[in-house]
């Protein structure tokens, strides 16, 4: 891969000399010069294998006199070239000085034609019914290089299975497969989940999955993008639309803090009453953010945007109302409350929404802005000592280090896990520190453990340890925190200690160094910059206001304890995507638009402000949240509502210093990236090209040399667990029963049945067997019934309880409770 290579060499392609980066792959180098050497198996993100033989070229090198080192000239005074006797694969060749390549000779043309002809002898040519048709490398290269006529003059070709489910999400058409192994290599080299393989040999070679369940990887969808034929298709998109009918709209994935750039392929659809709807989600190239990959949650989790449970019309007192009427009721209630109002906003709302909500609250004299869910503290520290401007996880390698602490990154931010695992493969030290065993241990170069409640202390004391010394000495160091097993107070202490360590060891204010956190949602950093904090949320719960605006936050499903204080709120104004329980409690419920229906911006975990565009048609009377807030404000005499999201952002850029330079035009700026996309030579699919913008990264306080204020670290006491009680540790799993994921029905088989992990010693003591139905009791919450999973991963004394799997809500953060087998009284310790 070409990165930061400054030395260049001279090569000759078709008798023209070029300066190219030394050691570059010949296919890549030629492509950068506008010479497309055709490939099927080669992919610039993976090591070359030279299998398909499509990239054959004439290859030679300029002869030099061994004694003098001078170039040997022929009779005509031209440099003499020593040619390889046979054609060579360009993909397995790295450029060197004096390399001579011919790509336009008869011999090369013939070789390309031959390879296409060979491939087509057993390819079904069912392009008219193939999902890849229209954006298929095999189709394109056949048009460009293939023979016009077949010599495979047999009545029938070989017939193989055309619908082999490799798992629930990906189907294999064995006839179409050209055995390029891109999918196998992607899973092994890039995804780090080596779950595909070849079976048999020769023309019987077939892709198989060797995992249980089949194709068990959070990155499986990417294989359908890189498949150069229609052999791999997704259960979501197959037979859904033809590529030429699709309009690709640049977007940002709303699922997690990575902020993967996506393309929403939309079509005016009969089944949606002629509205434009998302037919598929494809990755969009942003080499600094997600390269060309996305996880399966991002790819298949888009269905909520047009779920049957979307709230389509405004409601007042549980009765349908006109938007004008609903807004007026909301305005009246707010006016009557004076300044006794507060806002709780969700972590996947756009900056524009948050800004408008803040303006509304501030206009009423309230500064009570709560962030939801209140699980991760320290966004202010990320703003100060977050990863430096220009950070690119792809640049990490030998000599660098990443510490992942209290996070199951695979479940919380999969593409970060993928990229950090790649860094480890390039030689970076990746340390995974957690109180429990997770699958992250497999992607670590070393692991460290501590007891639950001890994470802040572990981080505060790391300096003196060997591990701390090793991390301190790294050329570049990133600390990535989570809130696994932490209370909000502990989360802040962990972030502070991490920040202090980074400051002390000089790993701040420069690219590829600093603090990151696996915050919930896609815009937790935006919440911070707009003034919303999790601490304010806890304060709201402590002192409930008269009127509470709840925006895109599923309080009831997320937190069993909201019932205690929500009843004390006189009026709830709900800005919601869904007709959910909270909408039922609300005096006014206002339908808002999802990320797919309007323009907006998110700030990702690396503080990159990124823009998404309107992709699908409006749902009912839903309007953007910023407009809802703006119109209520207008009714309250706070000034005219802004006309567009761009205008709101302009306001933000003028008022929030961090957003200076993040106007829509600047966010839409694109630059050439490597590997180059253009045409369909490397890839299938057409949605990779980034025309929507690379975003703008907000500099940290450290980047700008400002004074840093980490604050005094308060390391709380480890909570005392009483007799017969256990620590209840809520955790994140990627595939769950959150409302924003429930509509993606094809994912249901992949969502685990509700479970809790407990240690075998505890299980024995409590007379619980693996698979038993257990009940978890927590003060102030309904009992949670799940299956016990006794697998030796949970530490002693802790119940690992994934959130959003069971019907009843699981606590937001670590707490104390008890566990017992259903139908059996809790064992009381003697």
């Amino acid at each position: 891969m070409v990165t930061n290579i400054t030395k260049t060499v001279t090569i000759y392609i078709d008798d023209v000399s070029y300066q190219v980066p030394a050691g570059a792959n010949l296919v890549d180098a030629a492509k950068a010069l506008g010479n497309d050497i055709p490939v099927f198996c080669y992919h610039p993100k993976m090591s070359p294998v030279g299998m398909c033989r499509m990239c054959l070229v004439e290859l030679g090198s300029i002869e030099k006199d061994r004694a003098t080192g001078e170039v040997v000239l022929d009779d005509k005074g031209q440099p003499k070239v020593r040619w390889f006797p046979k054609l060579q694969t360009a993909c397995t060749t790295n450029v060197s000085d004096g390399m001579t390549v011919r790509t336009n000779t008869k011999q090369v043309d013939q070789a390309r034609e031959n390879v296409v002809e060979f491939l087509l002898t057993s390819h079904p040519l069912d392009c008219p019914v193939c999902d890849k048709g229209g954006e298929c490398p095999l189709q394109n290269l056949t048009m460009e290089h293939g023979p016009g006529k077949t010599r495979m003059n047999f009545a029938d070709k070989m017939h193989l299975d055309k619908h082999v489910p490799l798992g629930d999400l990906i189907f294999l058409d064995e006839e179409r497969c050209i055995q390029c192994a891109r999918c196998i290599r992607f899973q092994d080299e890039v995804a780090g989940d080596d779950v595909l393989a070849f079976h048999e040999r020769g023309r019987s070679l077939q892709i198989i999955t060797n995992s249980e369940p089949g194709f068990d990887s959070y990155f499986s969808g990417n294989t359908t993008d890189i498949c150069p034929v229609g052999a791999l298709t997704t259960a979501d998109f197959r037979f859904g639309a033809r590529p030429w009918e699709l309009t690709n709209v640049p977007s940002i994935c709303p699922q997690c803090p990575v902020g993967c750039n996506t393309s929403l392929s939309t079509r005016l659809d009969r089944d949606a009453g002629g509205r434009a709807i998302i037919k598929r989600v494809m990755p969009r190239q942003n080499e600094q953010v997600n390269e060309i990959w996305i996880c399966d949650k991002g790819r298949f989790g888009h269905h909520f945007s047009r779920g049957a449970d979307r709230l389509q019309i405004p409601m007042t007192g549980n009765a349908p109302a006109s938007l004008t009427r609903a807004l007026q009721v909301a305005a009246d209630k707010l006016k009557a409350a004076g300044s006794d109002v507060a806002v709780i906003a969700g972590s996947s709302m756009s900056n524009e929404d948050l800004w408008a909500l803040k303006q509304l609250a501030n206009g009423l004299g309230s500064e009570r802005l709560g962030a939801w869910p209140p699980t991760h503290a320290g966004a202010d520290l990320v703003a100060q000592v977050g990863v430096g401007k220009g950070t690119n996880l792809s640049a990490l390698g030998k000599g660098d280090a990443v510490l992942i602490i209290a996070s199951d990154l695979e479940e919380e931010a999969p593409v970060w896990r993928l990229r950090i695992n790649q860094a480890r493969k390039r030689g970076a030290i990746v340390v995974v520190a957690n109180a429990r065993k997770t699958q992250m241990d497999e992607f670590a170069s070393e692991t460290a453990t501590f007891e639950y409640g001890e994470a802040p202390k572990f981080m505060a004391d790391i300096e003196a340890s060997d591990l701390g010394k090793k991390l301190a000495a790294a050329n570049n160091l990133i600390i990535l925190t989570g809130a696994d097993g932490l209370t909000l107070v502990e989360s802040r202490a962990l972030m502070q200690s991490a920040a202090n360590f980074l400051i002390k060891t000089g790993h701040i204010g420069k690219a590829n160094n600093g603090l990151m956190s696996a915050f919930p949602g896609s815009n937790a950093m935006g919440l911070y910059y707009m003034g919303f904090t999790p601490e304010a949320t806890l304060d709201i719960a402590q002192k409930p206001p008269k009127v509470l605006i709840v925006a895109q936050s599923d309080l009831i499903a997320d937190d069993p304890s909201v019932g205690e204080w929500l009843t004390k709120v006189e009026t709830i104004i709900s800005l919601t995507l869904f007709n959910d329980a909270l909408a039922g409690l609300a005096t006014v419920a206002l339908p808002i638009q999802s990320f797919a229906e309007r323009d907006g911006t998110f700030v990702n975990g690396e503080r990159r402000v990124q823009r998404f565009y309107t992709a699908q048609g409006p749902i009912g009377e839903a309007t953007p949240a910023w407009q809802v807030a703006g119109r209520i404000g207008e009714l309250l005499g706070q000034g005219k509502v802004k006309l567009s999201a761009a205008a709101v952002m302009l306001d933000i850029t003028k008022s929030v210093p961090a957003f200076e330079g993040a106007r829509y035009k600047e966010l839409a700026h694109v630059e050439p990236q490597f590997p180059m996309i253009q045409k369909d030579v490397y890839y299938g699919g057409t949605a990779y090209e980034n025309t929507g913008g690379l975003g703008v990264q907000i500099p940290t306080a450290a980047d700008q040399g400002e004074t840093l204020n980490v604050g005094e670290v308060f390391v709380p006491e480890t909570p005392k667990v009483g007799k017969g009680k256990m620590l209840i540790i809520p955790t994140q799993v990627l595939y769950n029963r959150e409302r924003t994921f429930q509509s993606s029905e094809l994912m249901h088989p992949r969502v685990a049945d509700p479970y809790a992990e407990i240690n075998s010693a505890d299980a024995k003591r409590l007379n619980i067997n693996n698979g038993d139905m257990v009940e978890i009791a927590i003060a102030g919450a309904s009992a949670i019934r799940v299956r016990a999973q006794v697998d030796g991963r949970a530490p002693k004394g802790a119940v690992i309880l994934p959130r959003h799997l069971a019907t009843n809500a699981v606590p937001l953060t670590a707490t104390v409770g008890s566990i017992s087998k259903v139908g059996q009284a809790a064992v009381v310790e003697g």
Binding site: F40, P48, V49, G50, M51, C52, R53, M54, L56, K86, L87, T89, T92, A111, N114, V115, E117, F118, L119, T121, S122, R151, M152, F154, A155, D156, M158, H159, L160, D161, E174, I178, Q179, A197, F198, E200, R201, G202, R203, S204, L205, Q206
Partner: protein
């Protein structure tokens, strides 16, 4: 004189005591008394060439190993799978200690950390016996820790493949040895280089027969060895003779022996008083030779690397398949292409698809339904497969087509013309059976 097939002279030399009583392990003792680089120089000077087929200088191969690398391996290629080759099996069964000794000499020369003997899956019984022989050698201090008190540790292990021709190709052998699917690797890096060998460590891959020569060379010296054979092809070679001869079998003779001497003096002449029509000198993979009867001067060609190249073919592993006048060369081409179709690993497009396509067209010709253009077609397909694949299997698979057409055009012509005759008399063609679906068809098609 047998250097290799010493079991022919001393029937129980496979036994450790008998082997040592007859000079066994003296070569290793001598090697260990020398500097490793001196051993390499000595083997280089002997002009021992690789007996697996390529004929590359063994000493040269050993000298490519970077001495500074801490981990180095020797992989012994006992995947003997070329059609008509059965020489390594006899060595392994009747003179196994000499192979172990030869491998250890090589291991000393490159200061290897371990020797792996990769045997084809069908050699399971051979492997079990070999394990016992290795244990004997280990017990006697010739293998294992502190070999002959030198302070050098090197163990010998056997490993069974799963029965694939391609695993005789050195890089596919290494893949298989690592437990992966047997497919050739991209080179460079070559096996002898760091990054290219077993588990990415520098590795010498040598054929069984090659290494079995080493003890003799160490004991008798390179000059004695060079006295055997021709200028460029030193030493003895085991010729595996099969087909229409009276006495098929292995014959260990000096390189440079003529076909005539091999076939008539040793292999008992042509069976049933027939005339020779063709010879496959190197199993299924080498170019076939046309022989116009038993008096053809081509039978005076010397069996050496250089003379065979001059004759437009190769010596290869010297598996000599003799075919008399009754043999239909289209049938030969068909058998060969079926073999290569079955054995293609499937990695490179031209070989995977080409063997499959060729088989279909050759079958059509053989069944009398072919046309003249089909002969041009298969010739062209075969040429398009040549020289464009990762390993030589693409060329091997093309050879039987290209060279049977070139050397026996009349056989193809007969099939194509018979078709016209047959067509007149033939009953109306039956409707083709309904295509089979799925795995069943895959199994059928891939077979």
């Amino acid at each position: 004189m047998h250097i290799l097939l010493r079991g022919r002279d001393i029937s129980d030399i496979y036994k450790f005591d008998v082997y040592t009583a007859n000079g066994g392990y003296e070569g290793l003792k001598k090697a260990v008394s020398m500097k490793p680089s001196e051993v390499i120089d000595l083997v280089k000077a002997s002009n021992l060439r690789g007996r697996g087929g390529a004929g590359f200088s063994a000493g040269m191969k050993w000298s490519f190993i970077p001495q500074s690398e801490p981990i180095k391996y020797v992989a012994v290629n006992a995947d003997e799978s070329e059609a008509g080759t059965f020489k390594d099996r006899e060595i392994l069964e009747t003179n196994p200690h000499q192979l172990i000794e030869g491998a250890m000499i090589c291991a000393w020369a490159i200061q290897a950390t371990a020797v792996y003997i990769y045997l084809r899956g069908e050699f399971w019984d051979v492997a079990h016996a070999l394990d016992e022989r290795i244990a004997e050698a280990r017990k006697a201090g010739f293998v294992g820790d502190n070999v002959l008190g030198s302070g050098w540790n090197c163990n010998v292990y056997t490993h069974l493949g799963a029965g694939a021709y391609i695993c005789g190709e050195e890089s596919a052998l290494l893949e298989s040895l690592e437990g992966k699917l047997g497919q050739p690797r991209v080179r460079p890096p070559f096996p002898a280089q760091k990054g290219g060998g077993l588990y990415k460590e520098a590795t010498v891959v040598n054929n069984v027969e090659t290494l079995t020569n080493a003890p003799w060379i160490l004991v008798n010296g390179p000059d004695e060895y060079k006295k055997i054979g021709t200028e460029q092809s030193s030493g003895n070679k085991i010729f595996c003779v099969s087909g229409h001869v009276n006495k098929p079998g292995n014959y260990e003779l000096p390189l440079g022996t003529t076909f005539r001497e091999l076939l008539y003096t040793h292999a008992g002449g042509i069976a049933n008083g027939k005339q020779i029509k063709g010879i496959l000198p190197s199993g299924g993979s080498g170019p076939i030779m046309r022989v116009n009867g038993n008096d053809d001067p081509i039978l005076d060609t010397k069996l050496s690397y250089e003379d065979m190249a001059k004759a437009g073919t190769i010596l290869g592993s010297a598996s000599i398949i003799v075919m008399d006048e009754t043999v239909d060369m289209v049938w030969v081409a068909s058998k060969a292409i079926k073999f290569f179709k079955h054995e293609s690993c499937g990695k490179c497009t031209p070989c995977r698809e080409g063997t499959f396509w060729l088989d279909k067209v050759v079958d059509r010709i053989l069944s009398g339904k072919g046309q003249e253009s089909d002969v041009d077609l298969i010739n062209n397909i075969a040429k398009n497969m040549s020289g464009v694949t990762l390993c030589a299997l693409g060329d091997f698979a093309a050879n039987p087509i290209i060279h049977t057409i070139k050397n026996f055009p009349e056989d193809f012509k007969a099939h194509v013309e018979k078709k016209e005759v047959a067509a007149e008399k033939a009953a109306p063609a039956k409707a083709a059976p309904a295509p089979r679906r799925g795995k069943e068809a895959a199994a059928q098609a891939g077979d």
